[in-house]
Subunit: 495 residues, 2 copies
Amino acid sequence: MLQNVDLSREVVKAEYKRLKGDLDLKLADLQRQVKTLGIPVIILFEGWSASGKGTLINQLILPLDPRGFSVYSASGPTEEEKFYPFLWRFWKRTPTRGRLAIFDRSWNRRVVTDRVEGQVKRKQLHQALEDIRSFERQLTDDGVVMVKFFLHISKKEQKQRFAALRENTATAWRVTEADLWQNKHYDEYLAAAEDMLTETDTEYAPWTVIEAHDRRFATLKTFTTVIDALNRGIAVAGRNVEEAAVPPGQPAPTISALKTTALDHVDLSRSLTAEEYAGRLKEAQTRLRELEHHIYRRRMPVVIAYEGWDAAGKGGNIRRLTQNLDPRGYEVIPITAPNDIEKAHHYLWRFWAQLPKAGHIAIFDRTWYGRVLVERVEGFCSEAQWRRAYREINAMEQQLVHFGTVLLKFWLHIDPDEQLRRFQERQEEVHKQWKITEEDWRNRAKLDQYREAVEEMLYRTSTPYAPWTIVESNCKWYARVKVLETVCEAIRERL
Amino acid sequence: MLQNVDLSREVVKAEYKRLKGDLDLKLADLQRQVKTLGIPVIILFEGWSASGKGTLINQLILPLDPRGFSVYSASGPTEEEKFYPFLWRFWKRTPTRGRLAIFDRSWNRRVVTDRVEGQVKRKQLHQALEDIRSFERQLTDDGVVMVKFFLHISKKEQKQRFAALRENTATAWRVTEADLWQNKHYDEYLAAAEDMLTETDTEYAPWTVIEAHDRRFATLKTFTTVIDALNRGIAVAGRNVEEAAVPPGQPAPTISALKTTALDHVDLSRSLTAEEYAGRLKEAQTRLRELEHHIYRRRMPVVIAYEGWDAAGKGGNIRRLTQNLDPRGYEVIPITAPNDIEKAHHYLWRFWAQLPKAGHIAIFDRTWYGRVLVERVEGFCSEAQWRRAYREINAMEQQLVHFGTVLLKFWLHIDPDEQLRRFQERQEEVHKQWKITEEDWRNRAKLDQYREAVEEMLYRTSTPYAPWTIVESNCKWYARVKVLETVCEAIRERL
């Protein structure tokens, strides 16, 4: 989930000032509703040292009624606390109904800091992750609204912040040996944090990663996330508590400054000349043909998943991928709307049924991600269904990878202008008209909703075992070569 | 879950004949409703070789419309199936909406047979169990009704059945080398099956153990369990599908022959003479006092949980347990109805808060099991709440045991006559009158409901890491000595 995070995001001061007052009022109002309805709320902050957790918590509590919340700081367990199971001190601090408990670091420490420092062994890690999921499920089953933040900064930014703190005699003491150790071992922490986020991101207690280089941005994103979560919790509780007259929740305002995301920073100007294309395409195709034999002999299953915008060039890309392959070794599986038999099963059923046999390559032209893209946007499934689908999909992909499958997921990305150009070209050229339908135009009209769905998909399903590769596809030649070379490299690494 | 199973249960032929016809009709009727409502149903049979899975499945399908179900036999995976992840062949066979899929052995094979035969390594086991839970959760979230049976027979019974099959030349071929191997390694299989049952018994896909020595008993219990499960599934689906006019489900008949359970066979005549009592009590108390020092020095936490019928003698038992102990090393925690603060938290919160520090003993006079006993019977929590509590409680106890806690759970058992005698004695003796209240009499009036709750509790929460000890308590002396000696033995084993 940290893979595609764009840390350069920021909010200008004027914009921040304009919005903050309204968010404060909304939050204060929601706290009162939470109290009336007796909803317990947990808000927790994890993240790097010097990422600004303390400052952010301060911002968050300022508009709140101080009689309604508690802040707990969970640094390492005390000598006393070590005499109990690790969740004990957190169970004790779960909030009573109607109150907020805000944690500065939490039980997740056990699977990040304690793990990196070697206090939690590999075999305990699996169990600790399960204990955490069980804990969070029990609380949310009991009505707790849980909001989980991870404050993310780069290694360089952290180093600079430590340096700045140490320069000032008044703040130098705040930088500990452990902090410096963390900066030195940044990559290990990053990997542990990524595992933690993947394994504990659930529909009942989802993570929100906060890009924390810019304090204003971090504050606004935190506030709107809390407001959205409380609104959802109030809506659920409101359905159950009939006697409480619950006014409809006021949604968090849509803040354009927060909308910028990872996809915006994809460099779509990347391209190849005709000569480069011809040379690299041929080379990669030849290599893949050779690898196909190794795959077969080693009985390695390969799954290649294509998703992308309409007209991003999936078809042509797949043709170049398979052009030189032995047809007995691969299959292209086009995915369209489910037929009646498929609709009568779990949505993952048809994908399980079409998995490649070990030693073979399956290329999916559109995939199981339809659940969180078209089905979400078009309302073909309920909100509860697509929200839990992230975890279901991650579980399936983890099972494939554990079995030894090489799994590659490509998002073919073009910008809206390029898409329009291609749509128009298709309509004008007689032999391409079959490629463009009314549906393409309808989807295009919902570009913002699709974009939000794509962003959330990339964020929640980029796992350490199955990351997404974003393919810059304004230049089709570049896109084809990138996919081919990525596939070759991934297979080579595993042989 | 196999610990307290009474394999001697049986149904006489006349009773069987009287009941079976009605069950057939009910089942056929429910199949039609399931089809109308589009509910997919999975019924799976696990259990010992020669436990009668085939016969039982035949019984089950006879009353069904053959166009509405499929039977799958899952022996070891074929060569073909080995080229896919282990759940692949089962995903493919999940039923379409409105159909039944009946599995003779299933995906659970992976965590029992494959494990015992060494094909699944220890580190893969944890993952396989998680994959199974995830698979079952995904299907039931999608509306599948899942009924899981484990057919249990003893080692001796299995051996006899194999011998009988081999004596007859027509059936001798049915006993394979693998079958004989299983009988020889019965205890290993038993332990693996017990782990499997514990780890995959969930509120969405609970296990039913079938005592399979008597075919008639096994058949009736299987039928009534399926009927109950289908009725529950229809009730849930009926709430969601308004247009379908669903007649109220006909509950499975209460069959007195099926009611017999493990508690009935507790030998309540066990007793001690005054002399035996005095000697063994003193000896055990002295030993425990010594062990208390070791516990402290080794920083071992000990949790002793007391549950039992009203007037079973918990108070007197606890006094004998603690009589000789150093009061700085233990605490007795009486549990009554939760106060307002406790009610404003998750029901497990107050127990977490009162866990013993490492090196100390906590004795709970009544426990977290109130959720599945008094709260269930008196309607203080919803059915969904107590059904998921088994798993929540098992998770908590597993966390304690992983932390190194010695955890003992005692059910103090007396029969209704003895209880009545003690109630009357309390009312007659002035100094004991405080011990008997109106509530005791009210509870006694609900004896059948309490008994059902106790039985299900013993069955679903007797785990390999935290088994129940049933204490025969008609003779208080016997009960006191049994608890003391059990505690000493459990601590000694862990030092």
